[in-house]
Symmetry: D2
Subunit: 392 residues, 4 copies
C-alpha cells in the first residue's frame, strides 16, 4: 500500500459516524490498493466538530468546508450532511479536483441532480464521484446481483420492493430535518424510496420507464424538534407544531423496459417494521427475496431444482465465496449495518486506485432522481387515479 | 336439527369437490340449525355427472340445470361452474326462490354482476344469495377481522395485499378456461385479485375509492389444453397454440375513503409462491400480517406492548377462542384449505335458518366487481403512467 | 370397488371423531380397492354412544364391545379408547379374526405390548393389525422418508426430535385420564414421546439401541376433572386435588446402531408450543427439518447444491408428486391435522385389500414400546446422572 | 476520559483479529471511563506478529510474551491464543498484576482451570480477570437475561440449548489445532459446548447440578492441515492423515438445582447450520428463544398476553432500550458478530475503571469447566446408557 487518501467528512451525525467507522475499519480487514485516512471533520459548529473529531478519530476539524476543500492535502470529500448542501459542496469539491462520495439521495430536485452529474462529468480528469447507495454493499444483495447477472432468474417478470419503517407512526414524533422539504427535498420518497429504486435498477440492470404513484402525508403538523437523536429525536412537552412539508409514504407501480412489472412502496408508518428494506424478484427461472431486517440471508428459489424438491432456500450469505465476506469471519458469523459503509469505502478506494469510475456514479444516482421526479409528477396528476364506480 | 336443506351443486371440478366435502362435513363437526344434504350433482355431461355424484356422495345427478332448479325438493343451488354460467344459473335459481351460493368472482363483467345483485334483491322473500369468497372463513383472517373491528389496529394507514401464484410461469403451461376471457371474464384479476380486494374491503369495512392499475399478459399464446387437472392441466406435445385473452398479472395502488393507502398485486408468475394469498395492514396502534401458505398463523403487532418488548407475534390461530376453531381439534392441530368451505356452509346454513342475509351478499360481491372494473378501466387509460424522463 | 369393509369404532372422544372423519372421507378423495363404512360406534354409555353415532354418521351404536366384536358383519375394529382397553379389545378382536387399528401408544407396558404383538402374529390368517402412529401420514414426513431412503441425506449423524406442548403449564389444569398411570401407562412419554420415537425409527429404518433418560413430574397434584374437553378440560373451582401419577416431561439422549446420536425431548410444559412435533436429521449429504405446527412444509438442505447457493429449502409439500397430495387440492392449498387419519385409512384399507401387513404393524409399535420401557428403566437408575463437582 | 489502558494481545488469528477490532472500536462508540489502546501484538513468529501489528493497528509486536508481560506500560493481557497457552500466560500475567482477558474455554482440563481461578483470586489487589464468553454480549441474549431476572418467565421448567455447526461434516476437512486434545483440551465440547453451558447458567443464574452425556467422534482420522483458514483450513491433496483426538459432537441431558430439565447438544456435523448457537427457555409465565444465526432477534412468549393473542413475538433487539444498542444505529439496523467483542471491551474497561470484578470472572468460567469435566466423566461411564431390550 503505497499511497494515502486523506478524507474530509462533511457532517458528523448518524451518517458521519457510519462513514467514519468505515474509513477507519476498511484498511484493517481489506487489503486495499491505497490507504484511506480520516483527516478532517467538518460541521456547522466548530465546537461540535472538534468534539466529533475526537470521537471519530480525526486529527483536525473545521466549520469551513470551503477552506477544507481548498486544501492540497485532502483527496476525498465525503458529504454526509443533509440534502440541502449536497449540491453546493459536491460541485465545489469536484471542481477542485477532489473525489466525492455523496450521501443519497443525490439531490433535492432533478435539476439539482443534473447539475451535480454534470459537475462530475466536467471535473478534472481522474476525479471520481460516487453516490452512497450503501445497500448495494450488503453481501446478500451483491450476491443476488450476481445470480441475476448470471441468468439464474431468467426473464424477469416481477419486482416487488418495499422499504418499511415505522418511526413516524406516532403523531407526536417531532419535526426533524427529514420532514422539511427545503432541506430534504422529499420525505420517505427520497430518503428510503430512493434506496429501493436504486436497488431494483441496479439488480435488473435496466431503468424504470414509467410509474404511476400516490404520495401521502398522514400527519400534517408535528411538534418542533428540540434534540435530534437517531432518525428521530425529542420535542419539548409544550413544543409548538410546525408543518410537515414532505411525504410520509409513497406507493407506485412501475414498468421496466423489458416489460417487467414493478410494485414499490416506502413508508415510515408501517408499524412493526423498523427497517424492512425488502425486494423480491420473480423471473421465469428463479426468484430471490431479501429483507434487510435479516441482512445476512437471501432467499433463492431455483426452478431447476427437481420436482418436489423446489422451495425457497434460505442462504446464509456468510460464506467466503460471497461478496465481501472473505475478509470477515467464519461462516454463520453475521455482519451488521455498518459493514455496508466499510464495503463502500473498499469499492471507492479500489476504483480510485484503479483509475476508473466507482458505481453508483453520479449518473446512476441521477437515474434514480429521474424516477423520484416522475413519481412526484405522477402523484400530482389528477388522471392517475380511476374512481371506483358507486352503486345506482 | 329439524329441517333439511337439499343442495344441488352445479359443477364438479376442483370447486365442486371442495364444496361437496363441505356439505358432507359441516354437520358432522358443527351443531347446525338445519341439516344440509348434497342431493344432486349437475354437469355438462350426464356420464361425468353420474361418476361425480358417486364420488362426492350425492344420490342423484343431471345434465340439465334448469330441470334441477325447477324441482321443489331443492333448497340451495351451489354454483361451482366457470364464470360464464354464474349469471344465468344464479338469476334463474333466485327467481325460482332457491338460495344461491355462487363462486367468485361473482361475474365476468360489471353489468353482469349488477344484474345478479338485482336478482338477489328482487328474489322471493326469504331467498338468500351468497358469494363464495371463502378466504374470509380462514380462522386467522376471521380473527384479524375481529382485531380490526375492536380497534386494535387504530387508524389504518396501509393495506398491502398480494396474491402470488406461479402455475403459469412456464410458457408451455396449457390454455385452460381460466385464460379465456369469454369464460372467465378476466384472468388473474378476477380469479385471485378478487379475493384480496374482498379481503381488504371486508377487513377494513370500507370500500376502495380509486385505483391506479397496470395489467400484464406475459405469455400471449399457449398450447391448447387436452386434460384439465387442478388449476392447470396437460397439453399434447404437438398441441396448437391459442391466444391468452386475459391478464397474467395485475398491480394497482388504491385509495380508501379513510385515506389509507393500498397496494395490491396478483399474479400467476411469482415463481416459488404456490398460493401466497397475503395481506398486511398497518394502523397507528397495531399491524397484522397473513399468508395463506401458513394459513393457521396470524402475525400481530401491538404498539401497546411495552418498549423493548414489541414485535410481531406469531399467533397459532388454533385456540378454542378463535373463530370456527372450537368445533375442530386441540390447539396446535392445524386446519387445511377445505375447512374454508366447511365454514362457509356453516355460515350460509346458519343465515338461512336465522332468516337473515349471509355475508358476502351479492351486493358485497358487486362492490368487488366494481373494483375489478375500475382496475380494467385504469389499466386501459394512457394517462395512468408517467414517463421517467431520459437524459439530455 | 367391489367389497365393503365395515368398521366398529371403540371410543368416540377426540380420537374417535378424527377416525370417524377419516372413514367417511377417505373413499371420497381416494380411489380405494375396498369401501370402508363406519357401521357402529361403541362407548361406555349407550346414550352417549347413540349421540356420537348420529354425530359421526354411523347407523348403529353399542355399549358392549364384546358383542360388537362377535358380529359377522364387522370387518375392522378401530380402537380409539384410552390405553387401558387397548390390549383387551385388540387381542379379543384379533382372535375373532377382525382387522385391528389401535391407537398409540400400543400399550401401557412392555409386557402388555408383547402380548398384543403376539396376538397379531397368531391371529387367523389374513387378519391385519396396525398401530395409529398417524404422523407418519403427514405428507411432509412421508416425503422426508423418501429422501432418507433415497440416500439424499447420506450417512446419518444426528437425530434431534422434540414434541413440545404446553397445556399442562398451568398448575391448575385439571387431572385428566392422560395423567393417570393406570389408564395411560405413562404421561408425556407414551402420549407424545412415542410419536417422535416412532418417527425417528421409521425415518432412519433402524431401532434405537440405547438411551439415557430423565423424567420429570413438575406438578404433583392437580384438581380433579369435571368435564373433559380436547386434551384437557375443566375442573370445578373448589375441586379436590388428586395425584399426577405420570411424567410431565422426558428428555433422553439415544444411540442408534449406525452410530447416529439422538436427542429426544417431549413435554407438556413448553410454554408457547401448542403442538410442536419436530424432527431434524443431519446426514453427511443433507439434512431435513420438520415442525408439525407448519405441517405442510419440509426444510431440506442438500449439500450437493453449489457453493454459495446452499441453504435450507422451504418445500411446500403440496405438489402432486408428494405422498398423498395428488388426491387433494392444487399446490399451495395446504392440508390439516385430520388428513393424517384419512391417509391412515387409505393405507390400511389398501393393505387389507392387497393382503399384506400394514405399517406400522404391532411389531413395529412393540419396538417403540421397548424404547419407552428402556427410557423408564434408565430414568429410574441412579447411575444415569453424573454430578457436577462443586468448588473446594 | 483520563487514564489509558494499554493492551497486549497474545495471538493474532481469528480471535486476535476480533479482539483487536474491539479494542479499536469500543472507544469510538461508547463513552468509556478509560481509554483502551492496542499496544503490542504477540505471536510465535516475530515476522508474522509484525505483519499482524500493522494490520491490526498496534505500534509494537513481539514473539516473547514473557517480556511483554514484564513491561510496566502494559495494563491488560488479552489471551487469544489456543487453549494450551491459556493457563501459563494468564497465571503469569495475573501474578505480574496485569488484568487478564482470556478466551474460552478457560482451560483444557478442570485442574488447569482451578489453577487459573486460584491465580485470579491471589493476584495483586485490583487485578481483574475475565473469560471471553462473548455471546453474553449479544444484545438479544443480554435482553433475555433481563427478562429472566425480572421474573417474566416465571419458574423455569426447560432449557433447550444447541450449538450447531457443520464445518467438519466433510470427512476430508483437515486436522486443525481444534481437533488436537493436547492443544484444545476437548473438541466441540469445549469450543462451542462451553458457550451454551455458560449461557444457560448465566441466564438462569444457577449451575447445572448433574449431567448424563454422550460424546461422538464420527471421523477418526483427517488429512494433516497445510494452511489454517477461519475455523478450518486446507490440506494438500496427498496429505497424510492424523488422528482426531477430540469429540466431534456431544449431547447431554442436565438437571438444574431448581428442578429445571436441560437438554444440550453441540456438534460440528449438523449440516446446514453454520453457527446456530441456540437456546430456548420455557418457564411457567413465559418463554424465550434465540438463534445466533439471527442474532438481532429474540423470540419472547408472554403467557400474560390475552387469550387468543398469545404467540412468540419476534423482537428486533435493536431499540435504544436494549442492552448496548443505544451506542449504535437507529432501530432495525442490525449488529454483527464483532460487536460482541466490542461490548466485551466496554464491560471489561468499565469494570476495571470502577474497581470491581468483571463477569464472567475466572470463577464463573471455572463453573463451566466443571460441567465440561462432568460431561466427559459421564460419557466415559458405562452405566450412562440403558440398552433397549430386543425381541424374543
Amino acid at each position: 500500500m503505497t499511497s494515502t487518501l486523506r478524507v474530509a467528512i462533511i457532517g458528523h451525525a448518524f451518517m458521519g459516524r457510519a462513514h467514519a467507522h468505515a474509513w477507519r475499519t476498511a484498511p484493517r480487514f481489506f487489503d486495499l490498493p491505497a490507504r484511506p485516512e480520516l483527516a478532517v471533520v467538518v460541521g456547522r459548529s466548530a465546537e461540535r466538530a472538534e468534539s466529533a473529531a475526537h470521537e471519530l478519530g480525526a486529527a483536525e476539524w473545521s466549520d469551513d468546508w470551503r477552506a477544507v476543500i481548498a486544501r492540497d492535502d485532502i483527496d476525498i470529500v465525503d458529504v454526509c450532511a443533509p440534502g440541502d448542501v449536497h449540491a453546493e459542496v459536491s460541485i465545489a469539491a469536484l471542481a477542485a479536483g477532489k473525489h466525492v462520495l455523496c450521501e443519497k439521495p443525490l439531490a433535492r430536485t432533478l435539476p439539482e441532480a443534473e447539475r451535480m452529474a454534470e459537475a462530475a462529468r466536467s471535473a478534472p480528469a481522474g476525479t471520481r464521484a460516487m453516490c452512497g447507495f450503501s445497500y448495494r454493499r450488503t453481501p446478500a444483495l451483491a450476491y443476488a446481483k450476481r445470480l441475476v447477472a448470471d441468468g439464474r432468474l431468467g426473464t424477469i417478470r416481477h419486482v416487488r420492493a418495499q422499504y418499511l419503517q415505522d418511526w413516524l407512526t406516532d403523531a407526536d414524533a417531532p419535526l426533524t430535518w427529514r420532514l422539511d422539504k427545503e432541506i430534504a427535498g422529499s420525505g420517505t420518497l427520497g430518503d428510503i424510496g430512493a434506496h429501493i429504486i436504486d436497488t431494483a435498477q441496479w439488480l435488473l440492470d435496466e431503468p424504470l420507464e414509467a410509474v404511476s404513484a400516490q404520495l401521502r402525508t398522514f400527519v400534517a403538523e408535528r411538534p418542533v424538534l428540540s434534540e435530534q437523536r437517531g432518525l428521530g429525536g425529542r420535542a419539548a412537552a409544550d413544543a409548538e407544531r410546525g408543518p410537515v412539508t414532505v411525504d410520509d409514504a409513497v406507493a407506485f407501480t412501475a414498468s421496466f423496459a423489458s416489460g417487467a412489472l414493478g410494485v414499490f412502496e416506502a413508508t415510515r408508518f408501517a408499524l412493526g417494521h423498523r427497517n424492512a428494506n425488502r425486494i423480491e424478484i420473480n423471473g421465469d427461472r428463479g426468484s430471490i427475496a431479501f429483507d434487510f431486517e435479516r441482512m445476512n440471508e437471501l432467499e433463492f428459489y431455483d426452478a431447476a431444482d427437481a420436482d418436489g424438491e423446489q422451495g425457497f432456500r434460505r442462504i446464509l450469505v456468510t460464506e467466503p465465496t460471497h461478496p465481501y465476506v472473505d475478509a470477515w469471519w467464519p461462516a454463520g458469523h453475521g455482519l451488521g449495518y455498518e459493514h455496508l459503509f466499510t464495503h463502500q469505502v473498499v469499492d471507492l478506494v479500489t476504483a480510485i486506485a484503479e483509475e476508473r469510475d466507482p458505481s453508483p456514479s453520479f449518473d446512476e444516482a441521477l437515474s434514480v432522481q429521474r424516477v423520484l421526479d416522475a413519481v412526484e409528477r405522477s402523484a400530482a396528476a389528477d388522471a392517475v387515479l380511476t374512481q371506483v364506480g358507486g352503486g345506482a
